[in-house]
């Protein structure tokens, strides 16, 4: 194992850097400008049972040190993902990928996860029970410990691959949700999804986003995400994947000290398409500066 390598649910990653779902498509746009095989892995665009056009535009807004999005899970549906996207993905990325799945009912989640579980390209399934931008689903599963546990338990029985459950920060107590999904059979948790937010246009005096609200991501949420990763990792035994505003090698190390086994990078990809590669390349130098021999040794190091 190299200095940067970590293990996530039994699968070795060359490094802990993972582009987050919804900021990396299926990798092609990025593969145009760098060899994305340098990544630990990546989490592809959130997939639902049926195709979705997403929310009406405008569905992106600027914020101080971040952005709001209300894309609303635009995706071609699981059949098209399996038929078209996974073979194309295989042409640019050789490692196992994370299949990010969303749904509107337990049956949806089970169906979509089962389909993707059967694909050899898929190494892990990331269950998104935290999308703030779709009504009647997504986040509503992730805001109540019992609902979260029920969907995780159903999916856990239906799939063979490691199950990562992606949590929303838009709750009173994220630790109780994390414990509930751990008890229901989750193999790991990833956090945080975006923070429910809004902007108002002073000219029109109306919300900027047609959806009124959207999810805030980017450096603005990093300290909030770090705090939640720290709290959750203290309370669960399963690995925690940390995300939320990570933009540098230093941020990756901070997340790992807080308790993250691996780290996802989201908004940074949208501004600097080479962000993940740049972070991976910067890690050894930053580790040297802080006297870190192997990244895997610092996981949770900030807990006294």
């Amino acid at each position: 194992m190299g200095r940067l390598s970590v293990k996530l649910c039994g699968i070795e990653l060359d490094n802990p850097v993972i582009p987050a779902s919804g900021t990396f498509g299926y990798g092609h746009e990025f593969a145009e400008i760098y060899d994305i095989n340098c990544l630990g892995t990546f989490s592809f665009k959130g997939t639902t049972r049926d195709p979705r056009a997403g929310n009406p535009t405008p569905r992106i807004a600027e914020a101080a040190s971040g952005l709001l999005n209300a894309v609303g899970l635009q995706n071609p549906g699981v059949d098209a993902v399996i038929a078209n996207e996974l073979p194309r993905l295989r042409a640019v990325f050789r490692k196992p990928v994370i299949a990010n799945v969303s749904g509107f009912s337990t049956e949806d989640y089970v169906y979509t996860c089962r389909r993707l579980d059967a694909c050899e390209e898929v190494g892990w399934i990331e269950l998104n029970i935290s999308c703030p931008n779709v009504h009647g689903g997504g986040m509503s599963f992730g805001t109540d410990p019992a609902c979260a546990a029920a969907v995780v338990s159903a999916v856990r029985k239906a799939v063979t691959k490691p199950l990562i459950v992606k949590l929303t920060p838009n709750v009173t107590d994220i630790v109780s949700i994390a414990k509930a999904v751990e008890d229901a059979g989750a193999d790991a948790v990833s956090l945080i999804n975006t923070v429910l937010a809004m902007r108002i246009d002073l000219n029109t005096r109306r919300p900027v986003l047609t959806n009124t609200t959207g999810g805030l991501s980017g450096p603005a949420v990093f300290p909030l995400a770090l705090r939640m990763v720290y709290q959750v990792s203290a309370a669960v035994k399963i690995p925690v994947v940390g995300l939320g505003g990570v933009s540098s090698a230093e941020d990756v190390i901070e997340m790992m000290l807080a308790g993250a086994t691996a780290v996802q990078v989201g908004a940074a990809n949208l501004v600097r398409p080479t962000a993940c590669r740049d972070i991976i390349e910067a890690l050894p130098g930053v580790m040297d500066r802080y006297g870190i021999e192997n990244l895997r040794d610092i996981i949770g190091g900030a807990h006294g």
Binding site: G22, T57, I60, E62, V71, Q74, L270, V271, R272, T274
Partner: protein, 242 residues
């Protein structure tokens, strides 16, 4: 294929009190097709801002932009220094569809991508420039200097043809049209044009290169990304909202 690079600000001059011409020097090799755009990282803004490329010449590219918000306000005050720019974004115009007598139709600052197109087309096109008022008119002489026949129309009637581009188009029999401007204009042009053509759309974008799905647009072929599958679309492809 897109490229990220640092560009030097060579010139940033006012064409109108609210419109500036920015010439950037650097590696322009990714700027391949007229109609493509560039995305600039601006001081104080998290997301990049997309701008049509108006001209590409050897080692420089030219953007013409209107001051609309804080980002462009700050940009308009820069007189030197460097900018982080993503170039080679989007699919450009189909130059090979021009035919013998192409028509370029611009509404307001919609002329920007059409200037690079006019320079690139194998035949000199007719250019129809529509503006609100006579004092708004830009690039009339620049298009003439390329050898284009230029027709100007103004909504206030103070210069050229009094009225809108769709009215000024009546009687023209182009082989193909290329249009860029406000959405209402594009919709009207599509309805009235006597030939096939292409439209370049504007959108609020997140990334500008196809990753975030922020600029999805309903088309007859499903939702397409303006930044990656456009910004140039075929006549009849866009499903217009009401």
């Amino acid at each position: 294929m897109m490229r990220e690079g640092l560009f030097q600000i060579a010139a940033n001059t006012a064409l109108r009190p609210d419109v500036f011409r920015l010439r950037l020097t650097g590696d322009v090799s990714a700027c391949q097709t007229p109609g493509q755009f560039a995305a600039l990282k601006l001081e104080g803004q998290f997301l990049r801002r997309p701008f049509s490329v108006c001209d590409v010449d050897g080692e420089s590219l030219t953007l013409v932009y209107q001051v609309k918000g804080r980002g462009t306000q700050a940009l308009s005050q820069m007189r030197g220094g460097t900018l982080d720019v993503l170039t080679g974004l989007g699919k450009g115009f189909a130059v090979d569809k021009a035919g013998a007598s192409p028509l370029l139709i611009a509404g307001g600052l919609g002329f920007t991508p059409l200037y690079w197109l006019a320079k690139t087309l194998p035949v000199r096109p007719t250019v129809l420039l529509g503006f609100g008022r006579g004092e708004d008119i830009l690039y009339e002489n620049e298009f003439r200097a390329l050898g284009c026949e230029v027709l100007v129309c103004t909504e206030d009637g103070s210069r050229g043809f009094p009225g809108r581009v769709t009215e000024a188009m009546a009687g023209l029999t182009p082989s193909f049209f290329y249009a860029c401007g406000p959405e209402g204009m594009l919709k009207a042009v599509e309805r009235t044009a006597p030939c096939d053509g292409q439209l370049s759309l504007e959108a609020r974008m997140g990334c500008g290169f196809g990753a975030c799905m922020g600029c999805g647009r309903e088309t007859v072929n499903g939702v397409r990304r303006v930044c990656r599958d456009g910004p140039v679309f075929q006549k009849g492809e866009i499903v217009w909202g009401d």
